[in-house]
Symmetry: C2
Subunit: 313 residues, 2 copies
């Protein structure tokens, strides 16, 4: 069944009591530097420090009580793990998170802090999925995939719903980073249903599996990313690729250097802490500025969970 804006609106009603309505920030100084009017949806202020709280909460709160009490499981480079652990803790349900052993320390600590069990594995999709399959079979856990699931995509789409409610006059473009495709997918559905704005995904040149798939019409099942944007190292999911193909107008790339530059610019000008993944849309604008000049552009800042002892400058 096709995921629609009604699914996202239902998700919004379901998760609203538990999540933050994050503010929109602007900076005149930054607008002047970049040459367009930027609106930042600050999901770094969201519960668990990232938009992933939305999808995790919607997935857990959509489950029946019996399955919930057996437990939920997921694999995640970090924020989805924290989101699921947090959402499960609200329902007092057991939660296991399979994490790549190179995940930032701060993200491991967050998952553990919500009372979930952590299982470390090699930093490959095969290793992650293998560990999840094994534990699921042994314990009867329900998998809440970090992005390739309708409830998760619907949850992530609520960030764009809010954004459209918060910014009253029409936007030209809405942007989000592309990792597994949960955020850009949900954003695409919301924005296309409720506005005339273009939807543009942004991806690091060094993790361009979504871009390659989008341009060729064929999703890549295997890809080895190598980017500082640790939240975007996942490969786009099957459901996500379908949704993306229907609702996203374009995907733009950016260099690693530009990601660091854009991240620093947001830290300095907006005085907020964002993780490298969040800087990818602004980096993409800076790498191909022409089509954005004078436009009204909203960017969903995906999260703020940064290891302060390993900053990229």
């Amino acid at each position: 069944m096709k995921l629609t804006v009604q699914d996202i609106q239902q998700a919004q009603a379901r998760i609203e009591p538990h999540i933050h309505r994050t503010p929109i920030l602007q900076s005149q100084a930054l607008n002047k530097i970049i040459g367009c009017e930027l609106f930042f949806k600050t999901e770094n202020f969201q519960k668990i420090g990232a938009f992933k709280a939305r999808g995790g909460c919607n997935a857990v709160f959509s489950m029946d009580e019996a399955s919930l009490q057996k437990g939920v499981i997921t694999h995640s480079s970090g924020n989805h793990g924290a989101a699921l652990a947090w959402a499960a803790s609200l329902k007092v349900a057991p939660c296991t998170v399979v994490m790549p052993d190179n995940a930032p320390a701060v993200k491991k600590a967050a998952v553990a802090g919500y009372g979930a069990t952590i299982q470390l594995c090699e930093p490959t999709m095969a290793a992650r999925e293998g560990a999840v399959a094994k534990l699921t079979e042994e314990h009867g856990y329900t998998l809440v995939h970090p992005y390739d699931a309708d409830e998760v995509i619907a949850g992530q789409g609520t960030a764009a719903l809010e954004l459209l409610e918060q910014i009253s006059s029409p936007l030209d473009i809405v942007m989000a980073p592309v990792g597994g495709g949960g955020l850009i997918g949900g954003t695409g559905i919301s924005v296309k249903a409720l506005s005339n704005a273009q939807v543009i995904g942004a991806e690091p040149e060094n993790a361009k599996d979504a871009w390659l798939g989008f341009k060729s019409g064929q999703r890549l099942a295997e890809y080895s990313p190598n980017t500082i944007a640790d939240g975007l190292r996942a490969t786009v999911g099957v459901r996500n690729f379908e949704v993306m193909t229907e609702t996203v107008d374009d995907i733009l790339l950016c260099s690693e250097e530009r990601i660091v530059e854009a991240m620093r610019l947001i830290w300095t000008r907006l005085k907020i802490i964002i993780e490298p993944s969040c800087a990818v849309p602004l980096a993409a604008i800076m790498d191909q500025p022409k089509q954005f000049q004078g436009k009204r552009v909203a960017i969903i800042l995906s999260g703020g969970n940064v290891d302060l002892d390993a900053l990229p400058w």
Copy 2:
């Protein structure tokens, strides 16, 4: 003449079109760690990245046009310089800022960015005041003191006015850091006039001239501070000491280590960038937690202008 809340209300009407009404942030995770209910007034999001925009704007917009066009001058370790440069630029008036040569690079750049002329001097009060006196005599500039002036104190007091409007149920305590005494003075007048909350200033142990003066009843004219909180290296002013004595209930101290710890806690939990000076009230709470347990405590976060290449961890 005694400065009253009416002066602060007039300042608010005067500067409102030019400044941001900065949001109040809260973090449940942080409240749990500290053991009280904290409300953060985010003046790091203010114009020029600090509350000083309020005092600078009120001073400049209170001046007559003839004096303004001759030019304004000040000495400042940074944020007040940027504030005066910014406010003068709104009126297209000439502005000179005398800065200690050890001021952070980011603060020098901000002053220059608003089109003001920078004059470097030795990092002592005597050198700063000497340079200002000389230039004022030569050019007929009007001095806008960084804190020891009624218009400046009244401007800074508008942050607390807003805070009291934004937090509807009664507060137990309002805190602000103490440098020259502009912010704590204005805060004291506003809070005492409009609420029953206690007003508590916070100062680094290594810059405790206000504390020494407050406890002895005698303002210190000379003091050599040695603190990471670069915004608090000034000595409390004459007017500021008078106001402080009348409106502040107590001044608490904190260690340098605790300032860094509190700064990092605010970065990590609130996902916002604050300069070390802002962390001083939270550090003081952490150093003497007992009297704050279970209380509703508002902290004015003074600014967010940090040199990202010289972080204290």
